[in-house]
């Protein structure tokens, strides 16, 4: 069982996946299912799981005081160590070179893979985000206009799973059987630009919608708190000069133009921060 780094309650990451069709079924199951409480009961069992969302917790009634429950901090879950949980070796063969075209290596700072962005993507796609938590995925699914935004029926994990092989099929056809990782960097860039602009049409996937999600997720993995598996050693923050999850700059607000000397800190601290190191 995963534990949040602090506190005792956190998002229930074990609930069943909600596919595109079963949002309402999932909801009904939730409403009529195990998370039962009663109106009129003051408070609720501290063991009741909180969900990462607004509904589905047991109904509660509050009267007479500001509610507060010890140990109920809604702390985040760190990415788990270890091997890949979502990506297949074939998918990684695309992901690792592709993320390093988006953020390549150079002396300025880490490349995406040096910052463990592929690990971040893996943990995100294996978790709630990958399942489309906070996406509405119900049908019908006409394409719509660009102003209407994301209109796929696919949750992010499905989007990656469907599009990466479609890209590799296209590469194989266009480059006599090669895979994406076997292309020259310029060829990889051309392909990614084709997806980004929509000029490269994949017969069986929406490459443009995938690219928009992919680029956003790569930036997230590069610059988010290392808690989530990317931004290794906070090197992306060091590169730009962001001190991270720093809590108090009051003494610095009026020191205009001075470099803030603090090394970056993450939500879980930083190496050498605590007595235990």
């Amino acid at each position: 069982m995963r534990k949040p780094f602090q506190g005792t309650l956190g998002p229930d990451v074990t609930h069943a996946s909600s596919g595109p069709d079963d949002q309402s079924i999932s909801r009904r199951r939730l409403l009529g299912g195990t998370l039962v409480g009663a109106v009129g009961a003051v408070g609720a069992s501290a063991a009741a799981p909180l969900r990462d969302g607004q509904m589905g917790a047991p109904p509660r009634e509050y009267n007479g005081a500001m509610p507060w429950r010890e140990g109920a901090a809604d702390a985040p879950f760190p990415a788990e160590p270890g091997g890949f949980r979502f990506f297949t070796p074939q998918e990684l063969a695309f992901i690792e070179p592709a993320i390093d075209r988006l953020i390549p290596p150079d002396p300025t700072g880490p490349s995406a893979s040096e910052a463990n962005v592929h690990v971040f993507l893996d943990r995100q796609l294996a978790g709630l985000y990958g399942r489309g938590d906070h996406f509405y995925l119900g049908g019908p699914w006409p394409k719509g206009v660009p102003e209407q935004g994301y209109q796929s029926r696919l949750a992010p994990a499905q989007m990656y799973r469907q599009t990466i092989p479609a890209i590799e099929r296209h590469v194989g056809g266009a480059y006599s059987g090669k895979a994406f990782k076997g292309l020259a960097p310029d060829q990889q860039d051309q392909l990614l630009k084709g997806l980004e602009s929509g000029q490269l049409k994949l017969p069986d996937a929406d490459g443009q919608a995938f690219f928009a999600m992919f680029l956003q997720n790569v930036l997230e993995g590069y610059f988010s708190d290392p808690l989530y598996g990317g931004n290794k050693d906070m090197a992306a923050w060091k590169m730009i000069g962001f001190p991270g999850a720093h809590y108090d700059y009051a003494e610095w607000a009026l020191r205009h133009g001075e470099r803030v000397p603090f090394p970056p800190v993450g939500i879980m601290g930083r190496p050498g921060w605590s007595a235990g190191g």
Binding site: N63, T108, Y129, D225, Y247
Partner: protein, 590 residues
């Protein structure tokens, strides 16, 4: 079958800012008040404690505190010739959820509208003529409430929030250092302005050199420790830069939780039920009186909650949805112009100018939600619109809200969005660039409205709300004109080497974040033929139904709406206490 519960004096549907305000006001009158909130309880130590509040991924990009669209969304389109499709991912606006609502993750910009904003039709008609006011199929109308009526309630909200700022017009006397265009205020702000960090200081200097009278934006971010009139204590802001889109871990941002709930939750005559979603406002057979509400809880149980007064205090989109689902009033039809519920949906028209420096370290991460230097010269009717082809306006501000790197890295024009060049430019510019915002009005338009979607259904099988909205040339011309003014200030900033100007162009797009300032659909007016509610936010059709929120705005002004939303709520509460409770019935004769 719904189980019937014991009656209460007032039931509140939704428990964010307006629910907290109206709840506190009515409880102080001794009423038994029940709030029904579909989301969960939230508070600082449990939900956004300082040990984990500064998390850009979780809160901004994974929407941890926002409305979960998997559970409730709406459909969107630009015009009636398109098929509306579900908003599948939050973007343009970031809806709140749970106790405190979007007030948890707001920046804390506490503005008043201009006196002339409240007379948008008659004022512009007199100054520019009918052809200008009626251009672009606009359906602009006056607010039924005057500046003089709202002023004491603005003042009350500012004191509740510990608002920081500098008065520009104190009882008719123009004050140095404040906004010279604001309406006359009865009192100074309760707290002094936040001192400027480097970016706002550079902006203010450039603007003042150009002859604009810049001033610090009024904020709900504390410049010093403060105890409000309800005894709630707030702490001095630490400039952590995680304010908008985040909960404040430091009790430094005014929210319902930090200003009203410590008082209200302790009241014996107040009860809150969470995880309870209201499905319908129930009425007597003649439809003229609300008998209460039907709601479902998260255990799937349905209840009928009788009440003497029903207050819709959810977000504007939920309030209008509930009116339409309850069959209250006539839905607006853009083809005929008939009907009122859903009419005059409006929004905010924003633009931006990025300014780049070579030799200045700006430290953008030292920020606060509303820490801004502001120019109000081009807002509302603070300038002559003759020949410009638009009405309304925008404030121009550099708001140093923070430097969250996934969202807030700016690159110069011509920089690619990824690759080595992007990486090098991002590394170079992060500490050396800033964004000037133009924050503008959206006038009401015949084709912009809210109704029920014919295709998509929500989790309860009911039609989703459908939003039909686009900017008109009125907004596009306004944005072009004022963003150009902002660019002039940017170019004049000491050390600026490049700018990138992004006025609002084209159609409204749901993808990029703009503002969570949705308005209209339950508009207020001076008679039941032009509005859903009167100036006390009382339904013309159902006199014991009060509809809070920005739905009452006939069109949107160039300021953030929360100050006016709160002032209207206090104004409504005063009328309920002083008039309605003594003689229940219509407060304004039709």
């Amino acid at each position: 079958m719904a189980k019937q519960l014991p009656s209460v004096d007032a039931v509140l549907v939704g428990f964010g800012w307006t629910g907290a305000i109206i709840g506190q006001q009515l409880c102080d009158e001794g009423l038994q008040v029940l709030a029904l909130e579909r989301g969960v309880w939230r508070d600082t130590p449990t939900d956004f404690a300082p040990t984990f509040a500064q998390d850009e991924l979780r809160y901004m990009w994974r929407h941890h505190l926002f409305q979960n669209l998997a559970q409730d969304t709406l459909t969107i389109r630009n015009n009636v010739n398109q098929q509306a499709l579900p908003m599948r991912r939050l973007g343009s606006f970031l809806l709140g959820a749970g106790v405190g609502g979007a007030g948890i993750h707001w920046n804390g910009q506490i503005w008043r509208f201009l006196p002339s904003d409240l007379k948008a039709r008659s004022h512009n008609l007199q100054r520019y003529g009918k052809a200008v006011v009626d251009a672009y199929d606009m359906t602009v109308q006056d607010y039924p409430v005057s500046w003089e009526e709202l002023e004491p309630h603005y003042d009350m909200f500012e004191k509740i929030c510990g608002t920081t700022g500098k008065a520009g017009n104190l009882r008719g006397q123009i004050q140095a250092g404040g906004n010279p265009f604001e309406g006359p205020r009865s009192d100074e702000y309760p707290n002094p302005p936040l001192p400027y960090t480097y970016g706002p200081a550079l902006f203010a200097k450039a603007a003042d050199n150009m002859g604009y009278k810049s001033f610090p934006q009024p904020t709900g971010n504390m410049s010093r420790p403060y105890t409000n009139p309800l005894g709630a204590q707030l702490g001095q802001c630490t400039y952590c830069g995680f304010c908008e889109k985040f909960g404040c871990g430091n009790y430094s941002k005014a929210t319902a939780q930090t200003t009203i709930l410590p008082y209200l939750m302790a009241k014996p005559n107040f009860t809150l039920r969470t995880e309870c979603e209201v499905l319908k406002v129930e009425r007597t057979p003649d439809g003229k009186r609300a008998t209460g509400v039907t709601y479902i809880n998260s255990a799937g149980e349905t209840f009928f909650q009788p009440a003497e007064i029903v207050v819709l205090s959810a977000y504007v989109l939920q309030n209008v949805h509930l009116l339409l689902l309850s069959g209250i009033g006539q839905p607006y039809d853009p083809q005929t112009g008939q009907g009122l519920v859903g009419k005059n949906y409006a929004y905010q028209c924003t633009g931006a100018v990025n300014v780049f420096f070579d030799d200045k370290i700006l430290n953008p991460f030292i920020g606060a939600g509303a820490l801004a230097a502001t120019v109000d010269q081009f807002n509302g009717d603070n300038f002559d619109h003759s020949g410009l082809g638009f009405i309304g306006g925008a404030y121009i501000a550099h708001s140093n809200t923070g430097g969250r790197p996934i969202e807030m890295i700016y690159t110069k024009p011509g920089t690619p969005r990824w690759g080595l060049k992007w990486k090098q430019e991002a590394a170079k510019n992060y500490l050396r660039s800033l964004s000037i915002q133009t924050h503008g009005s959206v006038m009401a338009h015949r084709g912009n409205y809210l109704d029920l979607d014919p295709t998509y259904r929500d989790a309860y099988g009911r039609p989703m709300l459908r939003m039909t909205f686009d900017f008109t040339d009125n907004e596009r011309k306004m944005s072009a004109y004022i963003t150009a003014k902002a660019a002039e200030i940017g170019q004049a900033m000491e050390g600026a080497t490049a700018i990138k100007s992004s006025p609002r162009t084209g159609s409204w797009n749901v993808v990029p974040y703009q503002t969570t300032h949705n308005t209209g659909g339950a508009i207020s007016g001076d008679n039941p033929r032009n509005s859903v509610v009167n100036k006390y936010l009382q339904s013309w059709d159902v006199s014991n139904l009060f509809i809070m929120g920005s739905g009452a705005f006939p069109q949107n002004a160039g300021y953030n709406p929360t100050g006016t939303v709160a002032a209207l709520a206090y104004h409504s509460a005063a009328a309920i206490k002083d008039q309605y409770l003594k003689r229940p019935g219509p407060l304004v004769q039709a």
